[in-house]
Symmetry: C2
Subunit: 340 residues, 2 copies
Amino acid sequence: MKEFSTFQGPVTLAHGAGGRLSHRLVADFAQIFNNPLLAPLADAALLNLAAGRFAFTTDSHVISPIFFPGGDIGRLSIFGTVNDLAVMGARPLYLSCGLIIEEGFSRDDLQRVVRSMAQAADEAGVKVVTGDTKVVECGKGDGIFINTAGIGLITAGEDLCGEAPEPGDQVLITGTLGDHAVAIINAREGLRFEADIASDCAPLSNLLMPLLKICRGVKWMRDPTRGGPAAILNEFVMNRPFGIELEESTLPIKPAVRSICELLGFDPLHLANEGKAVMVVRGKDCDKALALLRGNELGRDAAVVGRIVAKPSGRVVMKTLIGGLRVIDLPAGDLLPRIC
Amino acid sequence: MKEFSTFQGPVTLAHGAGGRLSHRLVADFAQIFNNPLLAPLADAALLNLAAGRFAFTTDSHVISPIFFPGGDIGRLSIFGTVNDLAVMGARPLYLSCGLIIEEGFSRDDLQRVVRSMAQAADEAGVKVVTGDTKVVECGKGDGIFINTAGIGLITAGEDLCGEAPEPGDQVLITGTLGDHAVAIINAREGLRFEADIASDCAPLSNLLMPLLKICRGVKWMRDPTRGGPAAILNEFVMNRPFGIELEESTLPIKPAVRSICELLGFDPLHLANEGKAVMVVRGKDCDKALALLRGNELGRDAAVVGRIVAKPSGRVVMKTLIGGLRVIDLPAGDLLPRIC
């Protein structure tokens, strides 16, 4: 991996001021990202696109701590946007990168984060083609915040099938719940459980694009980040003529994650994931989808966790382990600040 | 203008946590931005694009103070990205918006900023189609930071002419220098000169797209933000077989800006602008370009300020008022932190 060639000492306000040091820092970034679309370092990247349907999204990342088991803010900032594109059925192509750095941030940490972004972009098959760097005074930020925006291509035959969800459709999740949130909780000062839990931070495009190409019965997908599956499923069914019934016994949750949730009183359905998708699949295509997902390393713990139901419409309910029916609501309050 | 319908009190961490309050806040934003591409509030906006050449860019805005004469961080965040597209010869189409808000930020200020973004987007003819909101703890940010990324369309016949710059080409600037920087200096606590100077914050697409359509001799453009014309002109000529010679007597600078620069020891060529472009135009098209620029309210103070020269190559020099030749270098150090 390339080194910062010209940059010494911690980040200073001058690195964001548009002069000599900014110019050199940007040249160092370009060397690490190393692609011909970024290389001209113009005010915008020039892209030749064929006619088609595209997805465009953005995500800022303010996670604390910035390095954690299973990832760092750099990987997260690439995969966060890659995943938002992938769940829309779009193949991620191009990313922008906006850094907001606090004065005094370490050169080595910055280099580690930027290299990590470059490696993550390679893993996801996307290119970081344009960027911006701002520096704020010490005490007016928190180390580093990273925004990425992304453009993805939706190709007919590799996209969502476009059919309306209906009773009989199944709800799948591509793997275990809550790993990211619990890894972050665990990494935060004062909460160090002796558990070997890593963030699930991963590029979902590498799992979902091959699925969509072969299984044409996928009707809807989302990645359950902040607010977890509870938030996205509620947003999905809100004011719709159907609801969702989850089956608690089928939720894939690692034992260590389950223990920490019980200890701290967290509901795994409220916790953030960074490499999982929740999807609604036609009933008859469910087995095929499950097999395809499980055949991929990123989906090996995939499970059917519920179904679309006619009633109660607009709500998410869950059959609990003891046989009751519990309403799963939108999470209220701030469960875990700065989880992504 | 639409009001926040559900949001009371200051911003809390829960507004960024992905649950109920996040959901409502995002619905309020969507109502203010009010366009059908954003309205689904999916993980990404879906765009139908014709085949073509596009520009893609991003800018984060961390300006302090966030409200200032002539604009605010909201307008700046829209025009900043619009202008980066416009100087590449791209008509701005779609913008993303990533907000990083400090806990405790005022509801009214947030509403004012978001409304201002919506109005600025209307003025520039762009749509904010996707967004993200994060909240960081009090003391870990500074009010509000805004990232925008943007996609613009480059149309043959309305773009840069693609010819290499050569001696005889003229350097134009579309208006007075340094207004934005001086307005911000003036608005900052402790530096209140009694001058009536407003930021030049404006959407350059409304000036440059009509110019490019009629005048086909524009070879290069940039907007001189951080680092001012000194930075962009040096980046332009660096390692090229030509240089630039500026003529100090022709630089358009408002008297009040000039006075404050003299008082504080600032070089107007180093100061940020937010509604100006610097361009290189074929010698024979220069009069036409100047007339077109001056016929537009955004370009009424346009001037020819220099020319492309064979020597010294790779450098920017300036004929001073007293007849000397001064090297204009890349600015060093941090002139004015958080100017945009």
